[in-house]
């Protein structure tokens, strides 16, 4: 086991712990609450 592999394992576990904590609390970076897409006036397609 190299030192950086151990460090990587620690990093992985920290990431996993944060992900599970977020999942338990139903937190997501991608939830849509308070995010009103049309709040500022919807204007149709962005196609030019």
């Amino acid at each position: 086991m190299t030192r950086r592999l151990i460090l990587f394992a620690i990093l992985c576990l920290a990431l996993l712990a944060s992900a599970l904590y977020a999942a338990f609390n139903a937190y997501s970076f991608y939830s849509d609450d308070e995010d009103r897409p049309s709040a500022s006036g919807h204007v149709g397609p962005t196609h030019k």
């Binding site: 991608y30 897409p37 397609p45």
Partner: protein, 416 residues
Amino acid sequence: MSGGKAITCPACGGKIEVRAAGFTVNLACQNCGSLLDVSLPEVVLIRRYKNAKDRFALEIGKRGTVFGQEWEVVGALRRKDQITIWQEFLLFNPYLGYRWLLVADGEWQFGTPLADRPQGDRNRVFWRGENFSRLGRDQPTSTTAVAGEFYWRVKAGDTANATLFQSGETILSREVSDGEENWTQLVPVDETEIENAFGLNRRSLPRRKAAQGLMQFKAAPGMEQDDLGRMFLLAMAISLFAAIAMALLAGPSTKTSSMIQVPVGGQIAPVKIGTITVRRPWQFVTIDADANRFENRWVDLEYNLVDRSSEQSIDAFGLVEHYAGTSSDGAWTEGSHHGDTMFGHVPRGTYDVYVSGSAHGWPVDPAVTDAWGSTETINLTIEASTGAMSWGMWWTLVFALFAWPVSILWWRFRDK
């Protein structure tokens, strides 16, 4: 001028000094880089090159004293394995034979070829009364550039399998190529001693590889175990485990759905879709809106989750839009007839799901067209459910897990 001999390069016609005449087999012309065979009285061109473009940290022909003995730099190699790139210099003194200088990541080592082979097995060898234990795994190494002269047939692209054994500061290196086994004893030597002896071309030192942040914990050059495979395995295992754990933490699931009609150019008051129950302390609530086919319309939806016990409402918004048209580039479409909305961090409770919204035409709302004065409507199936997991969060985790091993991989294959 040393006691060498001069030859003429058959490729470029330049004069080349052979420093270890009688020992040197292959020589790369200092002027044009062409590889020559000088083992026989007639110089033979092995491979023609246009210019000697590779620069090394030490200049061929420099003389200096290392560990009390005088040496001349006669050859230089650039080599690499899966982890490191380094330079090797062949030192020559006609009375003492050959030695090596290796440099990688700012560390220098002085190498002495061994006539007496260490004895032992894969993991441990015994040499001159000392035990050496294996350092890392066998590494396939290859030569990427050559300059100067060598006592064997050398060329860029040569490969060897290298294994290192260590005892204290001394390293024994075993290189096997074409069934031939060569052992070299390596001891550390200060860069200042090398600089004083030969002068140093600092700009041509092997690049230090991103020794910043977490990378600075990487082991000394040529001594790492190849841990990359294990990193990928670990990242993969954790990704898989996280997917299962996140799905379990997301459940259980309840669902309700209903169809609504939204008039284009108008709006509807809140309609109750149904009731869902959050059975865990916190859950995600997802609401999917699925519309019939329409073109150049958008539907703004507002969702309210009203807690039956507290009458508190949690709000979120959804959007379904689809456009089509033709421009100078041809036909185009944009948007989707489908819109997902996710509520995060919804506390335990029973919720009535209400939806209200408005629909519009683009670029303008359509006029009422038929004689009956009936209005165009958009039909939407709204389905609310609990118990979904956030795949976005999972992909974020996967990205973070693989970022490190993928950067190492990239960094390894970036050079040549």
